[in-house]
Amino acid sequence: MDRQRFEAVVERHQRRVFTLAWYLLSDREDAEDVTQEVLIRMWRSGGGVAPERLEMWLLRVARNASYDRLRSRRSASRVFAADAAHEAAGTVTADGPSPESVVGGSEIGRRLCAALTELREPAKSIVILREIQGLSYQQISDVLELPLSTVRVSLHRGRRRLRELLREVYRHVSVS
């Protein structure tokens, strides 16, 4: 891959990579590091990935790199999961603002981000890829190397878990 093409690919895909990393990690700086790592890895791969598979490849590498980072956080005994009560109080965690909060997001949006961090894998990645990033089941299946049926079931399981986590927040939702 020559530099010109590389830069075009970076421009085109950086948003996908950074968004996935940020929602997975709930930490902007870590997401920046992961994005950089992934894009440089692509450069060093020397164009060994077919263009039509590049986006899925980038997302897979970004997801794996994010999880490596989460694992190292855990092994360093750092608290990963954002404390829901903390978030509920509207305070910014030590890990920095959530992807939602930087755009002046609503309280519900912030709580939703906090609840997302509570999800287990692969549901968490699937919810982000499907609902926030708009990938199809097939694309998610390619990224995560999971059967389509697992993708579908995990997505529904993840959203159901979010419902449980957010039921209190949404007590006001009225029924017509």
Partner: protein
């Protein structure tokens, strides 16, 4: 476990709810769930909540990676095979004494291109143009570097580790005011050390 008038089991319906929200049920299942929701207030509430959460998730924003990250990535790519940006190459090349005519030609080409470009009313410059986007990133980087050095120096100085001297009235203050709250709260310490404050240039 409850059962509504339509005979459907609440647990069974709730099990299908997310697929129902996504419109992925078989027609028969869908009819069953719809009928149940008409009857069952609790499941209707769950359905509303599921719809709301899905909708909220879909409205969460995607974010561009910061310019500094992209800058850094490009730097790394360049280090693999260092090359000079075209602008620099052009300037360096144009400075060679032997190429006066070529310089004039290139300069002319640049002017004509710029004029032609400015004449196009519908097309304002945009960051969609990779060259402009790159120039903006590089400019941001240069400015951010100044800010970062100022911040780090200022913070370290506050912590007693380093010396930062303010030499320029007004200008330094204006810059520093925006380089971090640590600075403004500790304004008095800025001029510690071999200060030349007041030596206005």
């Amino acid at each position: 476990m409850s059962r509504s008038a339509d005979g459907a089991n609440c647990d069974a319906v709730l099990e299908l709810l997310e697929a129902f929200v996504d419109g992925e049920l078989e027609p028969a299942e869908e009819r069953t769930v719809t009928a149940h929701l008409d009857d069952c207030r609790a499941c209707r509430r769950e359905h509303r909540l599921a719809m709301e959460i899905r909708s909220r998730l879909r409205s969460l924003p995607e974010h561009d990676a910061p310019a500094k990250v992209l800058w850094s990535v490009r730097m790394a790519a360049r280090e693999d095979g260092p090359t000079v940006p075209w602008r620099t190459r052009l300037v360096q090349w144009s400075r060679r004494p032997a190429s006066a005519f070529a310089t004039a030609s290139v300069a002319l080409a640049m002017v004509v291109a710029a004029l032609v470009w400015w004449q196009r009313p519908a097309q304002r410059p945009s960051l969609d143009d990779p060259e402009i986007a790159r120039a903006a990133q590089e400019t941001r980087f240069a400015l951010a570097l100044v800010g970062e050095l100022g911040r780090r120096a200022a913070l370290d100085e506050v912590l007693g580790r380093r010396v930062v001297s303010a030499t320029v009235d007004g200008v330094a203050d204006a810059l520093r005011k925006h380089l971090g709250s640590e600075r403004s709260e500790n304004e008095n310490t800025v001029t510690e050390g071999p200060s030349e404050k007041g030596a206005n240039g």
